[in-house]
Each structure stands twice: as structure tokens, then as C-alpha cells.
């Protein structure tokens, strides 16, 4: 009876509330649009009434104030991927994304790497798509609406900016009351999260921090952002902690369940107790690495992250790339200490890297501490004496150097492009050479371009203000373009490519790297452009000065169109990196006219048409005014320098001496196009480009007319590499040649991109792609290689004993049986560098059928009809 009464009362109360809500709804109807306009928008525009950002928004200014500071931002910014590359549509136009309050605050308050952001975040990171789940980044946004001024607390990571908006963060001095409101809300959220997800031990550490006013080194090293946030908000006590609740609500709450710790993985410990469900791990796994292993399971308090179909991590399809741990802002995902210790030993370090020391360097300030833990070998502090060489020109280096102190001299040389190995003399030369199989030059062109036009004795001085050196080689995977020598006793931190990739995830660091590039390299690159060859040194400098701050730096993804034939020509391009396919309409289909290699420029014809057509030189080709004469598309990862048409024409007006050489070049190109069109009828260059042969610097080519399929090449490879062959006598055919499945030593190897521990790289003067022993077997390089030339093989898992440091095979007990653990590792052709640098496959071929050559050499042989080809 009593229960029934209670139910009735509750029903009545509910009805009353519903009625009141309905009345309130009616009153608020007219305001609904405004409120919804503020609260129901998301960045990707999936919610109703969200106006998608358009290309026009790129040019629309929005003026707002943040903490009293006036900020002018564009209404939209280009959508970027996790590495900061601009995303483009099929037409090659940048995809717009509405600018958020967080973006505007970043622009206003974060001027350089290491600057503190005024808005705290937990679930949001610049390189990840925002989801706005934690609400910690909330700010107070004041907007002028039709019904007057209205202020709301909004999540800044997903809230779009609007003209005249006033934003107050927790630091706002312009409106301390607003700052207090924001801080109160943010503190409450943080307090609740700390109560549920920060273990008691860490909570007590946090209190200790507040007493001293400084962050505990351990917390900083752990990278627990929740603890750091609580510290930032000065949360000394927690009203919702389990202890407090147990004290105040004795008997009303159940004792908490034991922590759910998943130790099934050999690399990562999963503690769901500390998980705040921010989704950074799942976005890292699914969006950044595209492994699609982590998802969310359960509802309400049962919500948790899970692997595959909520399997234990060690039994899931997780490839152990470490991205989830690096992304995790709490202790929910952490590396196992035994794994970190064994990695340190495998990479040859006696003691672990000092995370604090590394993070104290401003450029590294934004790096997650767990990333530094995970990549201990990727940071090496080097102390150089005066005169010591830091790096040499022509070496394939996979590292960059962050200058801590000291000065360096950089010498640029132009003596490149010669064969690295002599071919032998006399009879030996006549027989085909004694210099081994790699007879071609091992040097790529882009690297040469930087200093090709500079004299040998040119010296550039580098100081700590330059911050970083060697980053071009590290990012582009081309040989080093200069020799760097310490001028005085100096200290540098040598970092690997994966660290640079991680730095690039941050917009400020990206901008910083771009500035370094513009300052150091771009000017030299512009000065040495072939179009300026006819100019005097002063005129070249003048042209470079004119263009230096006007050019745009573009990144174009593979397959993306740069411009189409017939379009209006609006710019000329210089190719910094990668290859571009040039096609022309030929009847009903497109024909490949050739490709633009690094260091070349293209797109000038369309800008010169008026000059070309007005000239009365007989025989000169007429071309449509201001239109593109061919289509250009990126074949691989391409980086371009774009000079706008207006700037280019201005340059021609300033330097009339440029006009005649340019016309001459345009004529030559048009004549060459005609000749190429004729040649294309005979040569299957489509295959050459489609098969990616143009990128190959050391293809294993088998002449199928000579090859007797004896497999001596494969056997020799297996004999040399412990019984595991690194070549498969199968692959794509080009004319009568088989390009066997063996590493091609691509000019721009895709396989090097993204390795989470940088275990795959290119060193020294060799073309070899080297895979280190500490490969974690994630298979990303094998997946990246478009030719299937990297294979995963099982090797006994070796781990270092944390106490003795000795390495030993790992076993696991299952059903009373001791079972060896097999670690998948990537293997690829090392050009027999581990032996003596002469590929065994070629040496062992009894029929003179196996050869190593570059793609260009192969094309020449095919063009000659294969005759006298492989002498």
C-alpha cells in the first residue's frame, strides 16, 4: 500500500514536471533556434541545421575576443589528417572545416612550441577529429543574438566561432567572474573524473603537488593528464572520492568492484578502472593508424573500451603499434615495464631515456611522455667537439638533429650523381665490370637540388636559433644534402623520423618546421631554379627575395590531381619531393607524356601563352590562351612550391630578362610534347608508371628469355639469410623482364612511413632498407609496401631479463605445456649489406638472367628492344 502511494506520488510529480516542461518549451520555442545554433553544431556538420563550411569561408574573416584579446580568424580552415596534411577532394581543392573556438584560442595564445594553451583538454587533440565527450575544454561564449546578449558554457573543441563572439576561458582576466564560472564547471567535471578514474595513490600524489605548488616528476613522466589537469585546477580535495563517499554515505554505497586489469598483451597493460572513455585510444587506433581494433562496449556505467569483439588485448588482432597507449591521457593503457626494459636493451641503451630531460626541450614539449618512453632509442643526446662531423652529404640518414647548444657549419656541394662504384678496368670492364651489380648512381636528385647551384666553398652557419637541422632528409627519405661540422663544442639531440612525425601532429610545430624550411632551404632552391639560369647572380637573388615569402608550400597525396588540361592556369609549381604524372588527352583517352621528378618545375606554359602566341616566330606552336596544356597528378607523396600567376607575372615585369629564356623553354616543351606523343605510340610507358618502376633504384630484374627457373637466386638468398629468402621469383612483368618481388630500394620508400618505433630506415650511403632487431612486428611496413616486398616471418621472441640484462627466448605455459612465443618481424632484401654489399641473387645466377638496375635503366633497355641490353 505504501509502495502504491509512493508510486502515485512519483507519477504525479512526473506529470507536473512534464507539464511545466511543456509550458517552458512553448515559451522557449522562439529561442530554440538560437540555442540550438549554439549547442547542436558539430565540426563535421552531421547534425541538423548545421551549415557546412564552404570554400568561401576560407576567405571570410571572423572577429572575436578571447579573454579580452581580439582575434581575427578565417571562418574555415582546411581539413587536415593526423599528420597535418591538407585533405583535398577529387578536384584537388582543400576541404573546408569550420574554425572552432579552440582553433582560435590556439592561434591567439600559442605562438611557439611549448606555450601553454589557455583551454585545458582531455578528449581533444589537434591531430584527432574532435568528439567533445569530456567537456573539460568548456569556455563561456557570449554572443549577440536576435533576442539580446546570451552567454553559454560550450565545449570549445567542437564549437564554431562566430563574428563578435566573446569567449572567456579559465584564465580570463577580462571577466574574472566568467573565468570563475568556467573554472567551477571544469573543476566539477574533473573532480568527478578523478573520483572514478584516478587511483588513490595518484590522488594523494596530486595533493602533494598542490602543497608544493609543482607537478610531481612522476606524474609528468607517467603522462597522466587527468592528474595534471586536477593539479592545474588546484583540486586539493575530492568530494566524490570513494573515501569521502564511504564516510558520508556509510552503508548506502556498495564497495567498488576490484580493478579490471587486462595483462594478456606482452606489451600493454589495460586498466579499465582508470579509463575515462575519452575515445582517444580508439580514434588513434581507427583514425590515425587505421587498425580498427578498439571500440566501445556496454552502456551506462558498464561502458568500456574493448578490442575486436571485447576480447582480451593479447588475444585480439591488435598489432602492438602502441598508438593507443601514446594517446591515452590516463593510466588506463600503459606499457609493461618489462617491455620498456627489453626495448632499451634491444636498442643498445644501458639506462632508460630521461623523459623529463627530453620534454624540457621546447620543441618536444607537446610530446606525450609515453611516446618518449616507447621510443627511448629515438632520442640520443650527442656531445660533439669542435671539428667533429655531425652528418655527411650523400648519406641516407633517418635522423634529424635538434640543436641544444653550439654552432655548426653547413657545406653544400654539387659533386654528385656519379657512379658510386667503379666499373673496373681493362678485361674486367669489358666483361661487364667488377664493381658489383649496382652500377648506377645511388644519389637522388632532390637532395642535389638544394645545393646544386652553389659553389663548393659556400658555408652556412647554424646556431641554436635554427633549432633543428637535417629534418629534410629525415622526412623526405632522400640522401643528406649537406655536410655539417661542429664549429665549437656542441650538444644536439638526435631524433628519429617517428619523433618528427609526432612533432608534426602539432600545428605550431608544423608551422615552425615550415619556417625553418623557408629560411634555410627555400631561398637556395629558388635561386638555383633552371628558369633563372640566364640571369646574373644579383638578379637571381632579387628573384628569390621576391618569391621567398610569396610562395605557398603544398602537400599533395598520391593520385590527387594538381590541375587538369584545359583549366585556367593560375600558378606555376616547383616539385620539392615526389613524382608527378603528366598526361594529355589523346583521342578518347589520356596518354602519359612523362613525369616530373623532384627539382623540376611545371605549369609555366599556361602562364606564358599570351607571350607565346603573340610572338611571330614561324613554326612556334599555338596554344589556348591561359589554359593548361596537360593534366598533372601526383604519383606518390608530393610536396610542391606554388607561385601564383600574379606573382609570376610581376616577377617577369621586374626581370624582363626572364621572358626570352622562358619562351625558349616553353617552345622546347611543346616540341618535346609532340615528339613524346609520337614515341608513346611505340612504348608502353603506362605500364612503366603503373608498376611504379620509375621509383625503383635497385630492381631485381630477371630476363625471362635467359632465366631457366633454376631458383639459384632464391636459394642463394635463403642460404645467405639464415634459411629465409627475401626474394620471391614472381612478380610483375615488364616486356620480357620479370621484376621479382624483392626490395626495389625505392627513391621514396613508402615502407618507411609510419613505423611506430622507427625500426625500418635507410642509413649511410647504401640504398638498403634496413629493418632493426627491435621491430615489433606490427606489419605496417609490409602493408605500406605496394609491391609486397616486405614479408612478415616468425622468429623466437627474445626479451631482456630486467635484472641481468641478458637476452633470452620467451616461453609461455599453457595447459602445463611450455610453448615458445613467436614474434612476427618484418624482413626485406638488405642488398646483402649484412654480408658484403654484393647481392647474392645476382652473383649466384648461372645464366646471366638476374640483374640489379634502376627503373630508368630498365626503361632504356626496353626502349632499345632488349638488344645488347644486359651486357
Amino acid at each position: 500500500m505504501e509502495n502504491k502511494d509512493f508510486s502515485d506520488q512519483r507519477l504525479l510529480a512526473t506529470q507536473t514536471i512534464n507539464f511545466a516542461a511543456a509550458v517552458a518549451d512553448r515559451d522557449e520555442t522562439s529561442k530554440a533556434y538560437d540555442d540550438e545554433g549554439l549547442f547542436a553544431r558539430s565540426v563535421d556538420g552531421r547534425l541538423i541545421r548545421v551549415r557546412r563550411a564552404t570554400a568561401d569561408d576560407f576567405d571570410t574573416d571572423v572577429c572575436l575576443t578571447i579573454d579580452g584579446r581580439q582575434v581575427v580568424v578565417k571562418k574555415a580552415v582546411p581539413l587536415r589528417d593526423s599528420q597535418g596534411s591538407i585533405q583535398r577532394d577529387s578536384e584537388g581543392n582543400a576541404i573546408p572545416r569550420a574554425t572552432t573556438i579552440y582553433d582560435a584560442a590556439t592561434q591567439a595564445f600559442v605562438q611557439q612550441a611549448g606555450d601553454a594553451h589557455p583551454i585545458p583538454t582531455l578528449c581533444h587533440r589537434e591531430h584527432l577529429p574532435p568528439v567533445g565527450v569530456c567537456r573539460v575544454c568548456m569556455v563561456e561564449a557570449v554572443e549577440q543574438t536576435r533576442r539580446g546578449v546570451r552567454s553559454k558554457l560550450v565545449p570549445s573543441c567542437v564549437q564554431h566561432v562566430s563574428d563578435g563572439m566573446a569567449v572567456h576561458t579559465i584564465n580570463s582576466k577580462a571577466d574574472p567572474a566568467a573565468a570563475q564560472r568556467v573554472k567551477k564547471a571544469c573543476s566539477l567535471l574533473t573532480e568527478l573524473l578523478v573520483a572514478d578514474h584516478l587511483p588513490a595513490q595518484r590522488s594523494s600524489e596530486m595533493v602533494a603537488i598542490n602543497a608544493t605548488g609543482r607537478m610531481s616528476p612522476r606524474l609528468a613522466e607517467d603522462g597522466n593528464e587527468l592528474a595534471a589537469l586536477a593539479s592545474r585546477l588546484n583540486l586539493s580535495t575530492n568530494r566524490f572520492s570513494k573515501t569521502m563517499l564511504a564516510k558520508n554515505l556509510s552503508g548506502l554505497i556498495e564497495s567498488p568492484p576490484p580493478p579490471q586489469i587486462d595483462k594478456s598483451s606482452r606489451m600493454v597493460v589495460v586498466n579499465l578502472e582508470e579509463c575515462i572513455l575519452c575515445g582517444r585510444c580508439s580514434r588513434g587506433c581507427n583514425y590515425v593508424k587505421e587498425n580498427h581494433v578498439i571500440g566501445r562496449f556496454g552502456k551506462g556505467y558498464q561502458s568500456h573500451i574493448g578490442f575486436d569483439l571485447d576480447d582480451p588485448m593479447g588475444k585480439s588482432s591488435c598489432v602492438s603499434c602502441g598508438e593507443c597507449v601514446i594517446s591515452c591521457p590516463t593510466g588506463a593503457l600503459e606499457f609493461r615495464p618489462s617491455y620498456l626494459a627489453s626495448t632499451a636493451v634491444a636498442e643498445g641503451h644501458d639506462k632508460p631515456t630521461n623523459v623529463r630531460e627530453i620534454l624540457a626541450i621546447p620543441l618536444f614539449a607537446g610530446l606525450p611522455p609515453k611516446f618518449v618512453q616507447f621510443n627511448q632509442g629515438a632520442f640520443v643526446v650527442r656531445q660533439l667537439k669542435a671539428g667533429e662531423v655531425l652528418c655527411r652529404e650523400g648519406e641516407y640518414g633517418s635522423t634529424a638533429f635538434v640543436i641544444v647548444s653550439g654552432r655548426f657549419t653547413v657545406t653544400l656541394q654539387s659533386k654528385r650523381g656519379k657512379p658510386k662504384k667503379p666499373l673496373g678496368f681493362g678485361l674486367l670492364r669489358w666483361l661487364g665490370g667488377g664493381g658489383g651489380a649496382t652500377k648506377h648512381s645511388t644519389v637522388a636528385r632532390l637532395s642535389d637540388m638544394h645545393g646544386a647551384e652553389l659553389s663548393d666553398d659556400t658555408v652556412i652557419e647554424i646556431t641554436p636559433e635554427d633549432v633543428i637541422i637535417g629534418e629534410m632528409t629525415c622526412l623526405n627519405r632522400y640522401p643528406r644534402s649537406a655536410t655539417v661540422v661542429a664549429k665549437e663544442n656542441s650538444v644536439v639531440v638526435e631524433i628519429r623520423r617517428n619523433v618528427l612525425y609526432m612533432i608534426q601532429r602539432n600545428a605550431i610545430s608544423r608551422e615552425f618546421l615550415d619556417q625553418v624550411y623557408r629560411k634555410r632551404t627555400l631561398r637556395g632552391q629558388l635561386t638555383s631554379l633552371p628558369i633563372f639560369q640566364g640571369l646574373s647572380e644579383d638578379q637571381r637573388q632579387e628573384a628569390a627575395d621576391f618569391l621567398n615569402n610569396r610562395v605557398e608550400l603544398l602537400t599533395v597525396e598520391p593520385g590527387q590531381t594538381i590541375y587538369r588540361q584545359g583549366e585556367i592556369a593560375d600558378a606555376i609549381y616547383i616539385n620539392r619531393l615526389g613524382f608527378i604524372k603528366v598526361t594529355q588527352k589523346y583521342g578518347v583517352s589520356d596518354r602519359v607524356m612523362g613525369y616530373v621528378s623532384p627539382g623540376s618545375y611545371f605549369g609555366e606554359i599556361g602562364l606564358l601563352t599570351k607571350l607565346v602566341n603573340s610572338d611571330q616566330v614561324p613554326g612556334r606552336n599555338k596554344i589556348p590562351d591561359g589554359r593548361r596544356t596537360a593534366s598533372c597528378a601526383a604519383l606518390d607523396h608530393v610536396e610542391l612550391i606554388r607561385i601564383k600567376a600574379a606573382d609570376f607575372h610581376e616577377l617577369l615585369r621586374k626581370l624582363p630578362a626572364l621572358v626570352e629564356p622562358m619562351l625558349k623553354v616553353a617552345d622546347e616543351i611543346l616540341a618535346r610534347d609532340y615528339a613524346i606523343r609520337k614515341q608513346l605510340d611505340a612504348i608502353g610507358t603506362d605500364d612503366f608508371i603503373d608498376q611504379g618502376l620509375f621509383l625503383g633504384q635497385s630492381l631485381l630484374v630477371l630476363d625471362l628469355e635467359k632465366c631457366t627457373r633454376c631458383d639459384e637466386c632464391t636459394k642463394a638468398c635463403a642460404d645467405t639469410h639464415g634459411g629465409v629468402t627475401r626474394l620471391v621469383r614472381d612478380g610483375l612483368r615488364f616486356d620480357k623482364f620479370l621484376v621479382a618481388s624483392s626490395c626495389r630500394s625505392c627513391m621514396d620508400p613508402y615502407c618507411l612511413v609510419g613505423c611506430p618505433v622507427d625500426a625500418i630506415h635507410r642509413d649511410g650511403n647504401s640504398l638498403e632498407i634496413k629493418i632493426e632487431d627491435y621491430c615489433i612486428g606490427c606489419g605496417l611496413c609490409a602493408q605500406n609496401c605496394p609491391y609486397g616486398n616486405i614479408n612478415m616471418h616468425g622468429f623466437p621472441k627474445i626479451e631482456a631479463d630486467p635484472k641481468t640484462g641478458k637476452r633470452k627466448a620467451v616461453f609461455e605455459e599453457r595447459n602445463g605445456r611450455k610453448i615458445p612465443v613467436i614474434q612476427q618481424k618484418a624482413t626485406t632484401c638488405d642488398l646483402c649489406r649484412s654480408i658484403d654489399g654484393k647481392p647474392r641473387c645476382v652473383y649466384a645466377c648461372p645464366h646471366d638472367a638476374a640483374h640489379r638496375m634502376s627503373g630508368q635503366e630498365l626503361l632504356k633497355i626496353v626502349e632499345r628492344g632488349g638488344l645488347a641490353s644486359l651486357e
Binding site: G314, T708, G788
Partner: protein
């Protein structure tokens, strides 16, 4: 080893050296014989030198075997060795004939010279085959694969065809259940489940489960189940007839080994089925063509390598006879 214009430089060295050796020794032998007024035998000084040279050449020829086995060692490149092997092997025969003074001699020397002739002949046949068959493979087997992988790929072909049929005509399970009955089918499944090889765990593998990277141009056809139910039975029956050929090649295929007859068979199947069935018949025909190429590759591969065991066998026999000849010649000299 291909002998053509592209490799003449390499062969020219071996040919020149071999000819110098042969012509020099023969000239010396003829000069000595002219001085002696008769054709000198193997026991004379020129004969003995010629015989020794021939024996050394034979032992050098046998050296190719360990040279190829010792692939890790940086000896002379195998192609130069093989070139020398060919040309010195060929001149070995006339040198041996000159050494014999153009006489058969006893049974041992007769046997020896016959063994030498056969060995050189088998090598020459091998050389001829190596010059012809790779070109045939290049032209006639565009879908060539690694010889040792033919069986595996054939199984993949069958798997692909199974998937195609399952996707378009309904599962084989349904057909088997119809044919075997539910009881038999359950027992069949239990048998599969109790396979110890399936259940036994031998090792724990961690890391990427991928075996290899992506292959450019690679694709697999997969389609939705849209074929008419009426055709399903005909297609499964036709596939039952085709499957042994896809697995084993010509050994079990009566019709499919011949492209013309196979084309006729697929034509009849097309007539028996509706137009929708083309999405199954077309891929099956392509797979059959691929399997036929593998069968041709197997035959050509067999011819390309079948001479080698004979050549090696004869060479070993020749060496044994040569050793016996040396022992007897020295004993009775």
C-alpha cells in the same frame, strides 16, 4: 644458358680460351705426329699432355656442382663459371679424341669415350633446351608462377571457384545435406572438428598476422548471390566435372586440357544455363585457362630440367671411368 648477341662478349672469352687450348694442343700433336711419321697414341708426350688436359677439364666441369652448392662463397661469378663449363666441355671431346690418337683402344677407353660423347651430348641438349624453352614459357605461359607453387595456387583456384559458386548458387553444404542427409552431414562436421592438427596449438604468435604486403594489381572477384536457383544445380554439377582438372591439371582432365574442346564445353554450359549464369561461367573459364597454363608450364618445366639428372649421372659415371682409365694407364704405361 642463353647464347645470343646480348651475351656474346661473355662467351667470347671462354670460346677464345677454349679454342686456343684446343688448337694449340692439336697443332703441337700434329707437328709431333708429322715428325714421328704416324699418329701418336695416348702414351706419347703430346698424347699424355692432351689426356691430362682433358682430364683436368672434366674435373673442372664437375667443379660446377660444388660451386653452385657453395652459394654463400665469393668465388668466381657462377655465370662465368658456367660459360667456361660449356665451352671447355665442348672442346674436351675433340681433345680426348686427339689424345686417343683416333683409336678406340681397349674396352675401358672405348667406354670412356662413349661416356664422354653421351655426357657432352646431354649437356648440348640441355643447352639447346635452355635456349628454346624459356622463350616458349615467356610467350605461351603469360600467367606463369613458381613451379613449386603450382599445386598451392591450384588449390587457391579451387577455393576461389568454391567461393564463387557458394556466393552465387548457394552453399555446397546445402547441396551436400541434400545428398548425404542431415545425419551423415553432422558426422562429417564432427570428424572435421576432431582433427588433431586443427586443434593442436604449437606456438603462440604475436605481432601482425599478415603474411605479406599488398600486391599491386591484385584483386579477387566476389559477387552477391544472384544466380537463378534453376542454374545452381547445373552449375554445381558442371563444377564437379571441372574441379578435378582445376586441382590436378591434365592428368584428370579429358576435355579441359584442350582449349578448343574446353571452349566447346563452356559453350554447351552457357546454352544450358540462363544469361545470368555468365557471371559464374566466365570466371570459371578464366580459371580453367589459368590452370591449363600451369599444366603447360609443368610440361615445359619438366623438359627444361629433365636432361640435368642424365647429364649429372653420366658425368659421375664418366669421372669413375676416367679415374679407372688413369689408374690402368699409369699402371701399364
Amino acid at each position: 644458358m642463353l647464347i645470343d648477341r646480348s651475351s656474346w662478349r661473355m662467351h667470347a672469352v671462354a670460346i677464345t680460351l677454349a679454342m686456343i687450348l684446343f688448337l694449340g694442343l692439336t697443332a703441337w700433336y700434329l707437328a709431333e705426329s708429322w715428325l714421328a711419321g704416324r699418329l701418336l697414341g695416348g702414351g706419347s708426350l703430346p698424347g699424355l699432355v692432351l689426356g691430362s688436359v682433358a682430364a683436368m677439364i672434366i674435373f673442372f666441369e664437375m667443379g660446377l656442382w660444388p660451386r653452385k652448392a657453395l652459394r654463400r662463397m665469393r668465388l668466381v661469378r657462377v655465370k662465368y663459371w658456367l660459360s667456361a663449363h660449356i665451352w671447355f666441355g665442348i672442346v674436351c671431346l675433340p681433345i680426348a679424341i686427339v689424345h686417343s690418337g683416333f683409336h678406340w683402344g681397349g674396352w675401358l677407353s672405348t667406354l670412356l669415350i662413349l661416356a664422354l660423347v653421351l655426357t657432352v651430348a646431354s649437356g648440348a641438349i640441355g643447352l639447346a633446351l635452355q635456349n628454346m624453352i624459356p622463350r616458349m614459357l615467356l610467350k605461351q605461359v603469360p600467367g606463369e608462377t613458381i613451379y613449386g607453387e603450382i599445386e598451392n595456387i591450384s588449390r587457391s583456384i579451387v577455393l576461389e571457384a568454391d567461393q564463387l559458386l557458394n556466393a552465387t548458387c548457394g552453399t555446397r553444404d546445402a547441396v551436400m545435406t541434400q545428398q548425404l542427409g542431415i545425419g551423415e552431414m553432422t558426422r562429417f562436421r564432427e570428424l572435421l572438428g576432431s582433427d588433431p592438427e586443427v586443434q593442436m596449438t604449437r606456438m603462440i604468435v604475436i605481432g601482425a598476422p599478415r603474411e605479406a604486403g599488398r600486391r599491386r594489381e591484385g584483386y579477387q572477384e566476389s559477387r552477391a548471390a544472384t544466380a537463378e536457383q534453376d542454374d545452381s544445380r547445373s552449375l554445381w554439377n558442371a563444377y564437379d566435372e571441372l574441379k578435378p582438372f582445376l586441382l590436378d591439371g591434365v592428368t584428370s582432365g579429358r576435355v579441359f586440357g584442350d582449349p578448343i574442346r574446353a571452349s566447346g564445353w563452356f559453350g554447351m554450359l552457357r546454352q544450358a544455363c540462363s544469361a545470368d549464369a555468365e557471371r559464374v561461367i566466365g570466371p570459371l573459364e578464366r580459371l580453367t585457362d589459368q590452370r591449363r597454363q600451369f599444366s603447360l608450364q609443368k610440361r615445359l618445366h619438366h623438359w627444361l630440367h629433365m636432361w640435368l639428372p642424365y647429364h649429372i649421372g653420366l658425368s659421375v659415371g664418366l669421372c669413375v671411368l676416367l679415374l679407372a682409365h688413369i689408374v690402368f694407364a699409369l699402371r701399364y704405361w
